[in-house]
């Protein structure tokens, strides 16, 4: 993939996640911070499907943005074909892993499998 396409994705995920993370944080401030973190309140949030969907989107956007940023930093620190391939595929793998792990939490909780 061309670097300009990767960076357009990097900027796009940044802008989109700003808006959605702001909503995520506001949810914690509506009831009072500690009350919003109580078990029942959190379960209710997950079972509200639009909110669960929003969390899933935040998870994907931030994983892509964060691990692409890490990839850029690592590529600048050391060069070489083996290292660069390992960093690229390692970051993609880490991205996928965190998305899968987070999605498992969101899916199971929103489907009431807790």
């Amino acid at each position: 993939m061309r670097e300009s396409v990767i960076m357009k994705i990097h900027y796009g995920t940044a802008l989109a996640s700003v808006a959605l993370v702001a909503v995520h944080i506001l949810f914690r401030l509506t009831q009072g911070f500690s009350e919003s973190l109580q078990y029942e309140s959190v379960i209710a949030n997950y079972e509200f499907l639009p909110y669960a969907g929003m969390l899933e989107i935040i998870l994907i956007l931030l994983s892509i943005h964060g691990f692409n940023g890490l990839r850029v930093i690592l590529l600048e620190l050391k060069q070489g074909p083996t290292f660069e391939k390992s960093v690229t595929y390692g970051c993609i793998a880490a991205m996928a892993l965190i998305i899968l792990y987070g999605s498992r939490t969101i899916l199971m909780t929103s489907m009431g499998m807790v």
Binding site: E3, S4, I6
Partner: protein, 256 residues
Amino acid sequence: MTSEGLQISKEESGVMVSPTKTITLRISRYNPKINNESKFDEFKIPYQRWTTVLDAILEVKKHLDHSVAVRYSCRQASCGSCGMKINGRPALACFTKISDLNSDVITIEPMNNFPIIRDLAVSFERMFSTHKKIKPYIINEVSEINPGTKEFLQTPEDVEKYIQFSSCIKCGLCNSACPTMATDSLFIGPQALAQAYRYVADNRDKGKDDRLKIIDDSHGIFRCHFAGSCSQVCPKGVDPAMGIQLLRGYLLGFRD
């Protein structure tokens, strides 16, 4: 008229003579063929208000140690030869006055991110090769001036769009200051990127797509993070950071 009657005017100079002071120069000495690591030699040099760092280094060579290796030429900030790290910051030695540094000790080292040949002289091979890579010439399929025309026409407004970037004297200070160049051996560098913009912005040039393809690389324009250090150190006002962001605008779709 007799000489007694003629009052010869006394020439009085309005120029204030600057008092001579002494400064300590710490010059990095390193010969990769002989030494394992660099060391500093100290020299005490007299200086005046207008003495430049290059003047001081040449004083060292003249009277104290003629083996100090330094590259210089024009002594007027137009050739770009005397780039070096002065008190931790890349600068042209001929364009830096000792009195402006406000320091009793001046540490002079070779520019970072350039292989050292000896002492203060560094190799520009990498910078020249990255510069060549971006095709630093007008690309235009019209190789001969058409009969009936005199020249490729350019209005003063067309010239204003790129003339700033054509002031580049290839001194390498920008590449030395760049934080990405500090760790990335494959980064194309602010000098080459600014020159790429110089040609893309020139309306006589038709090679924009070629150059954009060259810089759209994992160690190309997107490894610039707009830290702006290149523009901070540029002695000719080229402002490579501006050129790079304007060039990136083409790739991101902000300009076409």
